[in-house]
């Protein structure tokens, strides 16, 4: 099974990126092979609809689990259509988040925001 995480850097000690749609990279971790790959997020520089395109990237990666601090409505629609399950990441490294997920310590992400659409976050 593959786990996807939006990250700021291409290593296991990286922080989680605060923005799902505009994260520079996604870490795709394959639990069976214990193998990590990093993919570029082609949506990061989109003027609009970044969440939709980013969700498409995650769907195409074959991930079934997404660990993210937050997620917009449209991205969530795409992810849910692909039966990808969303969990709320913790403010720690990518490795720590994978470990937390694998030991059932992460909560499902149940707050889906309506999107920021150029108005910034927080």
């Amino acid at each position: 099974m593959k786990i996807a995480i939006p990250v700021n850097e291409k290593n296991m000690q990286t922080d989680i990126c605060e923005s799902f749609g505009r994260a520079p990279y996604y870490l795709i971790y394959d639990t069976e092979k214990d193998e990590a790959t990093f993919i570029d997020n082609s949506a990061a520089t989109s003027t609009g609809g970044a969440g939709i395109k980013a969700a498409q990237v995650i769907v195409d990666s074959g991930a079934k689990i997404l660990l993210t601090p937050r997620c917009g409505e449209k991205a969530a629609n795409v992810l849910m259509a692909a039966d990808i399950k969303l969990f709320k990441s913790i403010p720690a490294t990518a490795q720590a988040n994978i470990d937390a997920y694998l030991t059932n310590k992460l909560d499902p992400l149940d707050e889906i925001h309506a999107g920021f659409h150029g108005h910034g976050g927080n």
Binding site: T47, G48, I52, Q56, A81
Partner: protein, 280 residues
């Protein structure tokens, strides 16, 4: 002759000026292009009102014909399309009606459907044809409504058209002034007002439109908007005083120039000045 009335900041007096100019003209069309919050009709109280729905075209997929090639997903610069589990998902409120997905689809699986975004309300108020664009709540852009207002006005335009613009200086304002022969910039005497006045000043220069300023809410104190006009050699077309009675008339939905000789004279003079400016 088409005169656009704009101001960077909201609440400076665009509607006051455009409504009153239309009201003192022999005959005029008044176009309310402030489609997010149209309020000109509150003053004109038009009769014989007719409504026309305005639609945009958005993408519609026939999932049976779609072969999952994803050419449309890759093409869409707005990322309005996603392809998941053998199905194309279309985000209708992200679609910008460009029609590109239809062109690139090798299966002819994509067509267009109408999506209503608002309406145009037309009616008469004395000698004024009052046409208001009303955007549905939550819609991303009112530009198609403004286009329709301007297009319809080409067919049955009075000699004089007043275009009441939205606030700001973004696309929606550019669309409103594109056909204008002259722009009236309304300014209020605050630093915030001057900051936003500067934005529309840059805009009308960019569009190479002839323009002049109307200073609203003038008091005895220093007027930063007037100082800005002097510094930049902007012609001051008229000064409207800060006047409680005018404020009261306005907040009761009355048209000052129809109620009060003083303001009928002020706006008649302003209209004459603007007409001379356009002809010059």
């Amino acid at each position: 002759m088409k005169i656009a009335v704009l101001s960077g900041k909201g609440g400076t007096g665009k509607t006051l000026v455009s409504v009153n100019l239309a009201a003192v003209a022999k005959a005029a069309s008044y176009l309310d292009c402030d489609v997010e919050e149209p309020n000109g009709h509150l003053f004109f109280k038009p009769t014989d009102v007719e409504e026309t729905e305005v639609n945009v075209k958005i993408a519609l997929v026939d999932q049976e014909l779609c072969n999952g090639c994803r050419k449309c997903v890759e093409f869409c610069k707005f990322n309005a399309l996603a392809y998941v589990k053998d199905r194309l998902i279309i985000f209708e409120d992200v679609c910008h009606s460009c029609g590109g997905c239809m062109l690139v689809c090798p299966q002819q699986a994509l067509t267009e459907k109408n999506k209503p975004i608002g309406k145009i309300q037309s009616g008469r108020s004395d000698r004024v044809q009052v046409n208001s664009g009303i955007l549905n709540t939550g819609e991303a852009t009112g530009i198609p409504l403004i286009n329709k207002l301007l297009e319809d006005n080409k067919e049955n335009a009075a000699d004089l058209t007043l275009i009441d613009c939205p606030p700001g200086s973004a696309c929606i304002v550019m669309e409103s002034i594109k056909d204008a022969d002259y722009c009236i910039l309304v300014a209020e005497p605050t630093l915030f007002g001057v900051h936003n006045f500067n934005m529309v000043y840059e805009l009308v220069n960019l569009f190479d439109k002839p323009f002049g300023a109307v200073l609203n809410k003038c008091q005895a104190d220093d007027n930063p908007a007037e100082a800005f006009c002097k510094k930049n050699n902007i012609k001051i077309l008229a000064r409207i005083p800060f006047d409680r009675e005018l404020g009261t008339l306005n907040s009761n939905g009355k048209i000052a120039s129809r109620e009060w000789e003083k303001y009928r004279a002020l706006f008649t003079d302003l209209l004459e000045t603007v007409v001379e400016e356009v002809k010059a």
